[in-house]
């Protein structure tokens, strides 16, 4: 039995101890990354794998607020091949739009193929650290920003983009990889530093560490003041 969660357009299925997340497929019949497809009462759902997608991992870890809703305009920084983007695309649905940005040509190749199948995603091959370079290419302010990039200055990049593109009161989520910030420091110290840095600039509404799905990663849900 697939039942809705408290978040918009995100579903779960419980089988014994196993719990899995799903989103309603925007383009039925098409797999994106080899995920499982399940059809129930004529609706097709795609399994959202927490081992491959950090927001899914955060939800599995009991996130209280997620903030993404149908019809949202989304800026997605660090889209990679589009695994997570495809689920966001399911959630925002036909009325929403996602600007998916990545800096590496190799992964944008896969991302473009995804965009051609899903009409609510637009790809950008840009450097998230230079928001001026794509300021005129996207429609902003956006309702939602998600960032997942493994850079030393990931928190600074995040704030730069939030200040430039997010509407007031909009949700912004970031996945922090401790090893990219400083391999020699203890992850918990890195997370505390990031927390202090973010708290001065945005309102942190939820926080989760992502183990065992991702090692040394933390997930922040914030809101722009």
């Amino acid at each position: 039995m697939i039942t809705p969660l408290k978040f918009y357009e995100i579903f779960e299925q419980k089988k014994g101890r196993r719990r899995s997340l799903f989103t309603k497929s925007l383009v039925p019949g098409k797999q994106v990354y080899g995920e499982k497809l399940v059809t129930e009462k004529g609706t097709e759902y795609r399994e959202w794998n927490p081992n491959k997608s950090k927001p899914a991992a955060a939800i599995m870890k009991g996130l209280n607020q997620f903030g993404l809703k149908p019809g949202d305009k989304v800026l997605y920084l660090g889209a990679a091949s589009g695994t997570t983007v495809s689920h966001f695309s399911d959630i925002v649905g036909k009325g929403g739009m996602i600007f998916a940005l990545d800096f590496a040509p190799r992964v944008v190749r896969d991302l473009v193929s995804l965009c051609e199948i899903r009409e609510n995603i637009a790809p950008l091959l840009e450097d998230a650290n230079k928001p001026e370079s794509y300021k005129d290419k996207i429609i902003h302010p956006v309702d939602f920003i998600f960032q997942d990039i493994a850079q030393k200055s990931q928190a600074e990049i995040f704030i730069k983009n939030v200040e430039m593109f997010l509407k007031k009161g909009g949700y912004c989520l970031i996945a922090i990889k401790a090893r990219s910030v400083d391999v020699t420091k203890k992850p918990s110290n890195v997370f505390n530093e990031v927390k202090r840095f973010l708290r001065e600039r945005v309102e942190i509404v939820d926080y989760r560490e992502l183990d065992p799905f991702e090692k040394d990663h933390a997930f922040f849900v914030c809101k722009k003041r």
């Binding site: 009325g95 739009m97 600007f99 040509p105 944008v108 190749r109 991302l111 473009v112 965009c115 051609e116 009409e119 609510n120 995603i121 637009a122 790809p123 950008l124 091959l125 290419k137 996207i138 429609i139 391999v183 020699t184």
Partner: protein
């Protein structure tokens, strides 16, 4: 609004496609070629071991008489069992090998044939790499040779990145695991990465390895910068500098 987005999306897809197309350079091709050589090597080694194991039921004494896998695969295809026995001066009745019908032996020889073509592939790719590296980064290649040069390029990601690295980073390319272990736990620091494959290092005394790696990395850092900014050829001069320093 939705219509705006539809048009914008079409434009952005076209732009991303164009950028991806234009981002492909000689770096990408060299990185692929050197990975191909590495993987062919690994595959060939694996299959060669299988071939020797297999063929040794037929003629066990021959395998240990030849060190080179490539030669081994060639010879067992070219010569009959009798000739091979004569070559290692062994009487047929002294051999531990069993007799098989022709089809069983042919199955082994098929593998030998495929192995031969793998070695052939590797040689062809190495020739290509040599040419490509000499044209793309002649100075770096003069110091490192095409294979190590290409591996450095592949570890750095591109010539642009390699040219922006300081010598100390180049010295440790390929030793990331040891480096981070050193930074994290205070274990002894690595002295060289992929550069240890360089003949000047592998042939030197153990105590000198670190020093020579440092010297090589210094010169490679210069060479990569010259290569990237398309300066005049200084490869021979850099090479001479290295040799002079080594003589001291």
């Amino acid at each position: 609004m939705a219509k705006d987005f539809r048009e914008l999306r079409r434009k952005l897809i076209a732009e991303a496609k164009k950028k991806v197309r234009e981002s492909t350079g000689k770096d990408n091709l060299i990185v692929q070629a050197v990975s191909c050589i590495d993987e062919t090597d690994r595959a060939a080694n694996l299959l060669a071991k299988r071939l020797r194991e297999w063929y040794s039921f037929y003629l066990p004494e021959f395998s240990s008489s030849i060190a080179s896998h490539q030669k081994f695969a060639e010879l067992i295809q070219k010569k009959q069992k009798k000739e091979l026995l004569a070559q290692i001066k062994l009487k047929e009745e002294d051999s531990m090998g069993a007799e098989f019908p022709k089809e069983d032996v042919n199955a082994m020889l098929e593998l030998a044939k495929a192995l031969g073509s793998l070695y052939n592939l590797k040689e062809k790719q190495a020739e290509y790499l040599e040419k490509a590296m000499k044209a793309y980064c002649p100075n770096t290649t003069a110091i490192t040779g095409s294979l190590i040069g290409a591996k450095l390029l592949s570890l750095a990601g591109s010539l642009k990145k390699l040219s922006s690295f300081p010598a100390s980073t180049i010295q440790l390319l390929g030793a990331e695991k040891a480096l981070f272990r050193h930074l994290k736990t205070g274990a002894r620091s690595p002295k060289y990465g992929i550069l240890h494959e360089h003949p000047l290092i592998s042939q030197a005394k153990k105590a000198e390895h670190g020093k020579i790696a440092r010297l090589l990395a210094d010169k490679i850092a210069i060479a990569a910068k010259v290569d990237f900014f398309k300066g005049d050829y200084v490869g021979d001069k850099l090479k001479n500098d290295i040799e002079k320093r080594l003589k001291k």
